[in-house]
Subunit: 330 residues, 2 copies
């Protein structure tokens, strides 16, 4: 492969001149520029990005770290990240944190292979993140709590979301509301549940622990939890599923037991996944500002790269999406 040296030689100029010409630095005569460009084209020259980055100690790329590249990621969030990154003329690469210490993600974090990183992966330890955070290497973590001077947190206000969902049910006349939870180690789930309880108590409705069922954020889990709820005999008038996937499973369980939604029971989900709109009845749910979160995250990375001072903590509000799965209760 041709290097810049070859180009310079062929063009009959010094390496530096070739470099200037190739990087359009207005220091070399148009005629020379052309000679250099022609030589480059002729040799099929491509600069070595690594060498260039090494010299400049700047990569112009930021990393988006996900647990699993093949996972059902929040595509809206990724879109936000992607668009803002591109708008700023930076490159974006996604890498996975599967494999822990050995993972690509950790490698990129530690070895200065990127100029900044956005982390949306629960399987990467706080320790590694903190270790990688250093002056001049901005890191934004999404939906996660790490208290460190160099790390910025962006999260969706899940407590407010849980509150919003529950309040909606209450306003629609429901007083007997079950909660199908996510896994117990999920911070998100906990916050949503807090919001749920909060809304109940503010409206003087006593929380009944027998109406909390353990799910795991999967369709299957929602199905099982709902089956248990049904088996238990005493049905509430509404169910708050901690995410849409589980609501889908729940819907199936209700269908199988000839319990109509929303006539017999109202249900509300959380996430506003794409499918929510298409199922029957369409699912009332809570929309998380995922696009905005992603866009904000990158924006913050750039601000820091420009050495601007930024807040270290951001909380984004959710929004109720009313569809057909909740009905007024008299």
């Amino acid at each position: 492969m041709a290097t810049i040296k070859d180009v310079a030689k062929l063009a009959g100029v010094a390496v530096s001149t070739a470099s200037y010409a190739l990087n359009n630095i207005k220091k070399v005569s148009p005629a020379t520029v052309k000679r250099v460009q022609d030589a480059a084209r002729e040799l099929n020259y491509q600069k070595n990005g690594l060498a260039s980055d090494l010299k400049r100690t700047k990569t112009n790329t930021i990393a988006l770290i996900l647990k699993d590249l093949s996972g059902p990621y929040y595509s809206e969030l990724i879109k936000g990240v992607q668009e803002v990154t591109m708008t700023n003329g930076f490159d974006l690469i996604a890498c996975s944190s599967i494999g822990g210490e050995q993972s690509t993600a950790v490698k990129f974090l530690k070895e200065k292979r990127v100029d900044g990183a956005i982390i949306l992966a629960q399987n990467i330890t706080d320790e590694i993140i903190i270790e990688s955070a250093r002056e001049g290497f901005p890191i934004v973590v999404l939906d996660r709590n790490i208290d460190n001077e160099h790390i910025i947190q962006v999260e969706v206000d899940n407590m407010q979301g849980g509150y919003l969902a529950t309040e909606h049910l209450i306003k629609m006349g429901h007083k007997e509301i079950a909660y199908i939870s996510g896994p117990y180690n999920s911070h998100d789930n906990e916050m949503r549940f807090d919001g749920f309880q909060h809304a109940l108590s503010e409206h003087d409705i006593r929380y009944q622990s027998r109406w909390k069922f353990a799910g795991d954020f999967t369709r299957e889990g929602g199905y099982r939890a709902t089956k248990m709820l049904i088996a238990q005999g005493n049905l509430p008038t509404a169910v708050f599923f901690a995410n849409d996937e589980m609501a889908l499973g729940g819907l199936q369980a209700f269908n199988e037991n000839k319990i109509s939604v929303p006539e017999d029971i109202s249900i509300i989900g959380y996430d506003d996944i794409q499918l929510s709109e298409y199922i029957s009845p369409s699912l009332t749910t809570i929309r998380q500002p995922k696009y905005e979160a992603g866009a904000l995250a990158v924006h913050l990375i750039f601000q820091q790269l420009l050495l601007e001072k930024v807040e270290r903590y951001y909380k984004l509000p959710t929004e109720l999406v009313e569809r057909k799965s909740v009905e007024k209760q008299y």
Copy 2:
């Protein structure tokens, strides 16, 4: 940030010794290794990956190029790529080709930032791919035709898949079969349709062009095409949807018109998307070996990296997945 020089100095050894120690090259005494490691830890040393890669002219990472990181990608395929890459101790990064010549994907392809690439993106031109392909830089393209000495093609045998689907319908007694197509510029669609026609003619069934309807691989498109099919009056006994998404739309259209699947009409899809199993009736469809395609692609990259000779073209067979949406016709 501390460099290897600092570590060497603190440990009281030469830079090279420090390098050997840090890379466990059995050339330096255990005692020295320990001294070096301690020094590294104390200084919080992290090697500069770029410098190391530059020197070795090897990055140990391969790129997976997708059109859009936020897109609904074939997660099985990505999983195949991911797992095999990891097993071989390489890193994997995903990058997008949005932005054409300016995209991250093109940059990584051209600037030797990775050791090999797998391309699953239709919006990147053949020209760019061919230009980037060079001795020692393996590229595998998925579901795409490029004839070039340095480029390897892996594709699913869509013709065989179309044949398989159609043959199944025929074996179940269907003779009047409609085809809801993908977009006309889709190579995949064309192949599936060829397989469809091929199966018909092999069983002496005349292809009727009035039973071909234009869809576009989306749910909405499948819905519209099916509505047209219904409106046309004369219903076939079975419909072959060129993909599952369209079949979903079609199912909805049939439901709305009180046409029961599979009692009144049988339908078969293509892709075996996750949802196919969950809808009612569950969808009989054609499974594409996506995981295998991804795994094979990486495998081929490694083979080439080891300078082994490999075939330049691979075609993977599909498989029929029988569920409930096709019924025997007497």
